[in-house]
């Protein structure tokens, strides 16, 4: 991790959003969002629909104007620069390919608009088509292509211009599951190969976790948390982030400090030792389903006693619901094989490592 001071000396951010606000009619959809994207970084704007992530992307692209704040690309203030004069590559959810042009003409469009023609253009088009494995499809029209191919054309069309920033607006959501993974990996590979700074908008946590160098979680027009995928996943700042990035077991109760240690007392009176840094008062304890260890040994004494309520096999994993003696219900995710003999109503004990539990003050929920 480089320090903040280092960054400000060595580089200006590739993309910088400074206090961006935007309202549509009576509703403010962005309330002063600030964001820095470092050169070559792949960041995901993650949030539910209506959180303002697409609006933020449109402001970056120059397709919408912010009411307040500044947009800087490579240190240049482009807040009032129209889209055509920004050096950005934009990929839409519906690809937005020109239906009356062939693959090649689609890819050539931006070059032509910038006055790049002839041999130089042909060379760059060839390069882009090769990079995205579109060679042989040059003369096809968009409607003659599969969804995955269309998305690759959209990427080629944007990348052929060698933009400063690549912006992608939910580019995978119109593809079926198998194709989605394929195109996802392709986007990541191309991004790495070119080292292009990328902003990717999605509502899919798995996409964000697998693609991003940094995840920026948005909610109701503001950034809730920003950080490396694992960091955001393991240490969510609030319940919203915890629930939005994967599944979370949430226990309500309060933290009681005793000397140098602290315990979390659930509503049903169970006492769980927690990280000593937790402060007194009403709190929630969050633990991921896969962080819970299930002990099936009859003689086991460690952990919380409970019984299995339901068992669902999901191929590589097994998904269990466990009811604790206090009445709390937990979801547990275990990896197969070796767990196939779990039965409903089986007596078990559950435990987890203290560092896998996140304790948040109740108001953060």
């Amino acid at each position: 991790m480089e320090s903040r001071a280092d960054r400000s000396i060595t580089t200006s951010a590739e993309v910088e959003l400074d206090d961006i606000a935007k309202r549509f009619g009576a509703t403010e959809v962005l309330h002063g969002v600030s964001l820095r994207v470092e050169p070559g970084q792949f960041i995901c704007l993650l949030g539910p629909s209506g959180c303002g992530k697409t609006t933020l992307l449109r402001i970056l692209a120059g397709l919408a104007e912010p009411d307040r704040g500044r947009v800087l690309i490579r240190g240049r203030d482009v807040t009032r620069t129209p889209a055509y004069a920004r050096r950005i590559g934009l990929v839409f959810q519906n690809y937005a390919l020109f239906p009356h042009m062939t693959v090649r003409d689609n890819v050539a469009f931006g070059l032509d608009a910038r006055g790049i023609r002839g041999a130089t253009a042909a060379e760059r088009i060839e390069k882009a088509l090769t990079l995205l494995q579109l060679v042989g499809l040059e003369r096809r029209y968009p409607r003659q292509l599969s969804g995955g191919q269309q998305q690759r054309v959209a990427l080629a069309r944007a990348l052929v211009l060698e933009p400063d920033v690549l912006l992608l607006d939910e580019p995978l959501s119109n593809l079926d599951a198998r194709l989605r993974q394929e195109v996802r990996d392709q986007i990541r590979a191309v991004q790495r190969a070119l080292g292009i700074t990328t902003v990717f908008v999605t509502h899919d946590q798995e996409e964000a976790l697998t693609l991003a160098d940094r995840i920026v979680v948005l909610r109701a027009g503001a950034i809730v948390q920003s950080g490396a995928p694992l960091e955001v996943y393991r240490a969510p700042r609030d319940l919203f982030v915890a629930n939005f990035l994967g599944d979370a077991n949430v226990l309500r109760g309060r933290v009681r400090r005793a000397g140098s240690s602290a315990v979390f007392v659930t509503e049903h009176g169970l006492e769980l030792p927690v990280d000593a840094a937790a402060s007194d008062g009403a709190a929630v304890l969050i633990v991921r389903p896969e962080a819970i260890v299930l002990d099936r040994d009859r003689g086991a004494v460690r952990g919380l006693a409970g019984s299995v309520e339901s068992v669902t096999y999901r191929g590589p994993t097994i998904d269990l619901r466990v009811t604790l003696e206090g009445g709390e219900r937990l979801r547990v995710l275990e990896t197969l094989p070796g767990r196939e003999d779990t039965r409903v109503a089986q007596r078990v004990r559950v435990r987890w490592s203290e560092r896998d539990a996140v304790v948040l003050p109740a108001e953060a929920s």
Partner: protein, 276 residues
């Protein structure tokens, strides 16, 4: 499948009786020779007599200019109409269609008053000092074109707006993000994708203009020769049925040719894999 076709029957029967039969009658009448019997006399007279032929050429000229003016004027209107928010679009549409509620006789008279030597337009021009004497507007082709453009504009705007409405706004945004300024976005994206609507508008406006009657009568008088008033004059004043029928058939054939051309262009556009 057959039942669905049966539903078309009433309309087909109606059109057959009230459109097909009269057309056939007119067609037959047009071949009646002076002394009886069938011949191409009427057509020969219309096409070979310079005076009568001028009605056809002048009609075509006025219609071409009218159609061209409608295309140029319609694009911005149709674009705004197609891209407006739905509430605004409603108001817009009402304003566009409202003039159609007033027949073109009323509007023809209105234009006559406005464009006359001492009409509003000339008064204004003289007051502004643009001209010293009144400009001749009525009974000129310019006057007729003015009137026709006003009457026919909605028939160009509506199909064009429908076509533009079918172009996702994202395509324009994509074009802009790729470095295209407005003119290029229009030329490379909006224009080619709205061609089917444009073609439909051209056919409708040209055909309506060729067959127009009230506007040429009011604004052209006896100075502008157009086919519509000629047919009326031959059929009711001169009572030359066969000749009126022949002119009608020429007019009908012109429109039909245009329609065939449109269908052909339409298939060509669709035949190309990118056409929509």
């Amino acid at each position: 499948m057959i039942r669905a076709w049966l539903l078309l029957l009433p309309a087909v029967v109606f059109l057959g009786i009230f459109f097909g039969v009269p057309i056939a009658l007119v067609a037959v009448t047009s071949f009646i020779a002076k002394g009886g019997g069938l011949a191409l006399d009427q057509y020969r007279r219309f096409m070979l007599d310079g005076f009568y032929r001028s009605f056809l050429t002048e009609s075509i000229l006025v219609s071409v200019v009218t159609t061209a003016a409608c295309v140029v004027l319609s694009f911005p209107v149709a674009y705004q109409l197609a891209r407006a928010r739905s509430g605004v679009r409603g108001v817009f549409l009402t304003l566009l269609i409202a003039p159609l509620m007033v027949g073109d006789v009323v509007r023809g008279y209105g234009w006559l008053v406005a464009l006359g030597d001492f009409g509003v337009v000339n008064q204004a021009l003289m007051w502004l000092g643009v001209v010293e004497k009144p400009v001749r507007l009525i009974f000129t082709p310019t006057g007729v074109v003015l009137g026709l453009v006003e009457v026919l504009l909605p028939f160009m705007v509506l199909p064009l707006a429908a076509a533009i409405g079918g172009i996702p706004a994202e395509l324009e945004e994509a074009a802009r993000s790729l470095g295209a300024r407005h003119a290029r976005v229009f030329r490379k994206v909006v224009l080619p994708l709205s061609l089917p609507g444009l073609a439909a508008g051209v056919v409708i406006v040209f055909a309506l203009s060729m067959g127009s009657f009230a506007i040429p009568l009011f604004l052209g008088g006896v100075k502008v020769n157009m086919v519509g008033p000629l047919i009326f004059q031959q059929a009711t004043l001169t009572v030359d049925g066969p000749f009126a029928a022949a002119v009608s058939c020429v007019l009908f054939a012109t429109s039909l040719l245009l329609l065939i051309a449109y269908a052909w262009v339409g298939t060509a556009l669709r035949g190309e894999p990118g056409g929509r």
